[in-house]
């Protein structure tokens, strides 16, 4: 077990930020902490890193209790904070060298690591630039390079793609996959469900400081009653909605303008059943497509609200 968090409670006066939160990270895993802004993702990371006091609970990293003086554990950790955390008056190369030097004392090895980190985040053309001269996306890349140059076994990435353009975002996500392939275990926080779906082997959905559910992408989607949604638009809408409830496995029907959103519970042949219904009723459709459930649907069912509400 790389990280184990048991019954973590963190209070800010009357407000409970973390409510008996539990979490485990296996070696070689990318664990996603998914939840809306303010749900406690960053607080979990700050507590694990011993930056924040907490009221109850236990935190172990690499099987040892984590404290502010756990320098041996800290040597194996890399952190990429949510906000860009670099020295504004040092160049790209100097920043990476400074932070890498806090872990790696051997000068020649450090030099090699710094160059590799610069290549890894694609900042080769900017090594002599100060951070304030870089675009938002490039600053984020530098933020990542400063956190991973020393090749940590465990990496915390706290919403590294917030406010980043699509190109930099893809670059960052590819880089995270590569880090994981090279052996790093990763805790990744995000409120972008697409990122969690594509990147993480296991996901914890959080809300109000609680661990609502955890599992793989597929396991989470299997937990909800709606397995499929089919969107149809008819030329002759009329009162067809009520009749569609007779189709096998239909649990609910919603109207969105002229579109019908037909929700099915777990079952097979939903599209075929719906097409047969259309044929039997001599209906003409102008739109017809199926949506598989997303993590947002999982979150919606668990909390009654969307991830981006």
């Amino acid at each position: 077990m790389v990280v184990k968090v048991s019954n973590l409670v963190k209070r800010y006066k009357e407000k409970i930020a973390l409510d008996h939160f539990n979490m485990e990270l296996e070696e070689g895993e990318i664990l996603g902490l998914l939840g809306p802004n303010g749900c406690g993702k960053t607080t979990v990371i700050n507590c694990i890193l011993s930056l924040l006091n907490f009221d109850e609970g236990e935190i172990e990293i690499f099987g040892e209790k984590m404290t502010p003086n756990s320098y041996d554990i800290k040597r194996q950790i890399g952190i990429v904070p949510q906000e860009v955390a670099v020295f504004e008056n040092l160049t790209v190369k100097e920043n990476i060298d400074y932070f890498c030097g806090l872990y790696v004392e051997d000068r020649s090895l450090r030099k090699q690591y710094v160059e590799e980190a610069i290549d890894f985040v694609g900042l080769g053309d900017y090594r002599k630039f100060c951070p304030r001269k870089l675009s938002g996306g490039l600053r984020r890349r530098l933020n990542i390079a400063c956190g991973i140059a020393h090749r940590p076994k465990l990496i915390f990435l706290d919403e590294p793609t917030v406010a980043v353009d699509a190109q930099s975002r893809n670059f960052i996500l590819d880089g995270i996959k590569r880090l994981n392939e090279e052996g790093s275990s990763i805790i990744y926080t995000t409120h972008y469900l697409e990122e969690a779906e594509t990147l993480c082997k296991r996901i914890i959905i959080m809300d109000n400081g609680k661990n609502l559910v955890s599992g793989s992408n597929e396991e989470l989607k299997a937990m909800i009653s709606t397995s499929e949604k089919i969107v149809v638009k008819f030329l002759e809408p009329g009162t067809i909605g009520d009749k569609m409830k007779e189709i096998p496995h239909v649990v609910d029907i919603e109207r969105n303008g002229e579109d019908y959103i037909i929700k099915f519970e777990n079952g097979f042949n939903n599209m075929a059943n719906l097409l047969e219904f259309i044929k039997d009723n001599n209906l003409t459709y102008t739109k017809f497509y199926s949506q598989i459930p997303s993590l947002n649907d999982v979150f919606l069912q668990l909390t009654g609200k969307g991830l981006r509400d």
Binding site: Y12, L49, L51, L52, K74, I77, N89, L90, E94, E105
Partner: protein, 351 residues
Amino acid sequence: MKRLARNLFYQGKNLLGEKALIFWGIIYPLIMALFFHTAFSGIMNIELESIAIGIDKDNPVRYILEEIEIIDVHVLKDVEAKEKLEDEDIGGYIDGDLKLLVKKSGINQTVIKEILDQIKQMEKLGLPMERFDFSANYIEDKNQRADTIIIIFYSLIAMVSTYGLFSGIETVSLMQANLSNVGKRLNATPLKKKDFLLAGIIVSLSINMLSNAILLIFIKHFLKLKLFTGLLYSGILIILGNLFGVGLGILIGASSKRNANAKTILGIFITLVLSFLSGMMSTDIKIMLDKRLPLVGKVNPISIITNNLYKINLLGNTKNAIGGMTILGIYCLMLIFLSYGFLRGKTYDSI
């Protein structure tokens, strides 16, 4: 040692890139010096004049005073002396008990009092008066312009010597997870805070002393003012002022969660008030405080530096310098210990 060297290099480079710090540390003092010089240049061109003192003909110190070059002794009776004091024909009157009577406070009265104190002390110690060369001590450099405006420059130098507080604030801000993003990252690394703090103190002191040197060179070579004759004591006082400033900055930085700008403004406010009380804006304030609340001048660090720079370089008097340095040293230790108390905590209630 390697770690310290790396921290010194990178922290130094980062601090030198802070434009606000360069402005307040280097440009602002030069502007102030130029402003004072321009505003008071007419007054500063007045050459040293002799000081008229009234004294009874039987007073035992009369012969000593007559030997001092800058003193113009007027033999007077009590009644006559009071009239001349009232008309400001004499700066002061020394009675039979060696008490100094003055109508107003000023630089001349300060010089008379210094001389009188010296005479009394030598009498107590039973030392022969001939052994003390009053002329040499009070007019060591005939080119020295002894006027009240010089105090303003000493006060400016004293104030600027404490401007290490800006880099002190910045250093603490960078190392605290609840004050900066870099602090958050640093606290998650194996870096030990004391390494970063020590490097920050050394860098802050070095940068501020460099800026002090620039100011002194500017005053000497551009404004053509010769302010220093006692370099050793003056240098030690200025270095202690630097250490005090850095310590104050670290304490201000560590003691609250306000942002660095708010803390910088607080630092400027504190140093301006202390400088005001030490006579930077008006020497009348200093003279009034020395007369009514002498303790303020004795505990105000900028007054300690100002007064001692003045006494050392203008009056050639170093007897109070060690006391002043000791008080400044105690302040520095107190600031460092208090700051350590704030910085010792390694986890935070909120970030």
